[in-house]
């Protein structure tokens, strides 16, 4: 057998490169596409697209009812939309987080990435950003639909003599506050779900683990809240909300983003707790990202 050195493998390429931003962008794009099963078979598309459709359904229905009833109280509170539909969001988290967080670990392709010009930070942030984008789209699109429906129906409601029709400015303010809430939901839920999925690389386990953490934290918090409410201790019930992802973000919505506590149950975050809830939410995101980086850095070595 002959001896050879192959120029293309031995001599290093010194020409212009597309660069780090291009790497990050392609990873982001690839992850976002795989979250919705794009570029994969029909089976990979079914769950995410069906869930996206389910997310839109109540908003569409609400607009339809609004167009008949012509009364503003029919309109779903924007900031409550994600909370009403949290089972669907939780299923999306559980089924899709493993798609981008577990596969590379399961098939041991992580070292392949890191032996090329890809940095751990970019690799993890691209996954995170893609998941945040997907979740944000999942929640913000129906809320936007609601708001558009309101804007379209407002004149008809006033002409129909409905009382207390909100002003365009007021309702648009609520809309933007709800979008900020959606973003915070997306940040917290993504980081938490990706982290769990990254530590359960076996097929199926990631789905179960994300679901279990979500359900168990909900049940535990509900028990604590139930007990403290029945003994009249509303303050503690509100603080307990810190320990499930949805009520954690909702505390920020109510106490910092001006969402209406009136439409929520008694266990809403106590007055003045806003900054604590926000800090806790940001801490969840920060710590999860650090642990994720650590996880992938180790897997890539």
């Amino acid at each position: 057998m002959s001896t050879a050195i192959h120029d293309i493998g031995y001599r290093h390429y010194d020409g212009p490169r597309l660069g780090r931003s291009h790497v990050a962008r392609s990873l982001y794009q690839y992850n976002l596409r795989s979250l919705f099963g794009l570029g994969r078979g029909a089976r990979a598309k079914f769950i995410p697209l069906a869930l996206a459709a389910f997310m839109l359904l109540p908003a569409a229905g609400d607009i339809a009812v609004l167009s008949f009833a012509r009364r503003p109280e029919v309109l779903i509170d924007y900031s409550m939309y994600a909370i009403y539909l949290q089972p669907i969001i939780a299923i999306f988290l559980a089924t899709q987080a493993p798609v981008i967080a577990s596969r590379d670990l399961r098939f041991r392709t992580v070292p392949l990435y890191f032996s090329r010009p890809v940095e751990t930070t970019d690799f993890v942030l691209a996954k995170f950003a893609a998941f945040v984008t997907a979740l944000l789209a999942l929640m913000a699109v129906p809320v936007t639909l609601l708001h558009l429906g309101f804007l379209a129906m407002r004149k008809a409601m006033i002409e129909g003599g409905a009382p207390d029709v909100p002003s365009v400015a007021g309702q648009t303010g609520e809309y933007f506050a709800a979008l900020a809430g959606c973003l915070l939901f997306a940040l917290v839920l993504s980081s938490f779900a990706l982290l769990i999925a990254a530590y359960t690389p076996r097929r199926g386990f990631g789905v179960a683990a994300v679901m279990a953490v979500y359900l168990i934290s909900n049940v535990v918090v509900l028990i604590v809240q139930g007990a403290s409410i029945s003994s009249g201790n509303y303050e503690i019930a509100g603080w307990a909300g810190l320990f499930t992802p949805f009520t954690l973000v909702d505390g920020v919505q109510v106490r910092l983003l001006g969402a209406d506590p009136g439409v929520r149950a008694e266990n809403v975050a106590p007055a003045g707790s806003g900054p604590v809830f926000l800090l806790a939410a940001l801490a969840v995101v920060g710590v999860s990202l650090l642990l994720l980086m650590n996880r992938f850095r180790k897997a890539g070595a």
Binding site: S2, T3, L112
Partner: protein, 303 residues
């Protein structure tokens, strides 16, 4: 005598290219597949074993395509890197099961033969879960040998072995190569490759960087000057003579002798004795300092 032909093979996972346009032939004897972590060694081995479809290009064994061609698998044995096995089976049960999967006429006898080959008879009745790393490696080896394949693919076979097990396995590999089998093993540990394989294939970040004998590969790297250390009866005079001759790029006087950098290995090795003789200097030592596999590898991999 069998050979695996790899023809312009690429494989990508999502958006990472694991193996990038590789063409090589693995013939009889021991070939070392060398590359740093994440170079694509395992991906390449899995494609050679028929476990993974190439994204483009083709692999064949003696002209027969490997992908989705079960008749070829009778001639290939693969020892994967992963250890997850059937921990509840005993070594013998596992090998017999493999023999039955190959539909061998006498699975029991074939299994005993394979187990004997890797010297695991003494532990054949114990569950695999109780084995040490080296024993697991050997039982995996037996599972790959049970159908007496002409081609043996070993993915990181020395991982986790103690020195004695390492030597045993090296002997076994040499023995099987002497029988005319085609053996490919991957490693990122240079010492193992150096001791076992004269022919190496180097891949770096999915690209085929070099193939052949590593000393010859080193000669081909004409852009990397060779460094020799010379000791003689009169280093200063020798330095002057070498510089005057012009076959060296630089000469340095150090306390371990004369360090000479040359770009033309052949010319320099021919000229040194002549120059020394003309100047009447006695040469005590001439040794190339960067001819080890390690330096060759670092030149290939280095960025």
């Amino acid at each position: 005598m069998s050979a695996i032909q790899i023809e312009d093979v690429s494989r990508w996972y999502g958006n990472v290219v694991a193996v990038n346009g590789v063409t090589m032939t693995i013939g009889p004897g021991v070939t070392g597949l060398l590359g740093p972590n994440g170079a694509g060694k395992s991906t390449l081995i899995h494609m050679m074993g028929g476990f993974l479809e190439p994204s483009s290009g083709g692999l064949s064994l003696d002209g027969e395509p490997i992908w989705r061609n079960p008749s070829v698998y009778r001639h290939i044995g693969l020892v994967p890197e992963r250890e997850s096995g059937y921990d509840f089976l005993t070594g013998e049960q596992f090998i017999v099961a493999m023999a039955k999967l190959h539909r061998l006429p006498e699975p029991g006898a074939a299994a005993r033969r394979a187990i004997g080959r890797v010297e695991m008879d003494y532990a054949a009745d114990r569950p695999i879960g109780t084995y040490s790393k080296g024993m697991k490696q050997r039982i995996k080896m037996a599972s790959a040998l049970v159908h007496d394949p002409a081609v043996l693919l070993l993915d990181e076979p020395f991982n986790g072995m103690d020195p004695r097990q390492r030597l045993q396995l090296m002997d076994l590999i040499r023995e099987m190569a002497a029988e005319g089998r085609t053996i490919l093993f991957s490693s990122h540990i240079l010492e193992e490759v150096e001791r076992l394989a004269t022919h190496i294939e180097v891949i770096v970040a999915g690209r085929h960087a070099a193939s052949g004998d590593f000393r010859q590969i080193r000669r081909l790297m004409t852009d990397r000057p060779h460094v020799f250390v010379l000791r003689s009866s009169d280093d200063r005079a020798l330095a002057a003579a070498i510089i005057a001759d012009g076959s060296a790029r630089s000469v340095r006087l150090t306390d371990r002798g004369l360090e000479v950098e040359t770009t033309d290995f052949e010319r320099f090795t021919r000229l040194v004795p002549q120059v020394a003789r003309k100047a009447e200097i006695r040469l005590r030592e001439v040794s190339p300092t960067d001819e080890s596999l390690e330096s060759v590898f670092s030149y290939l991999v280095g960025k």
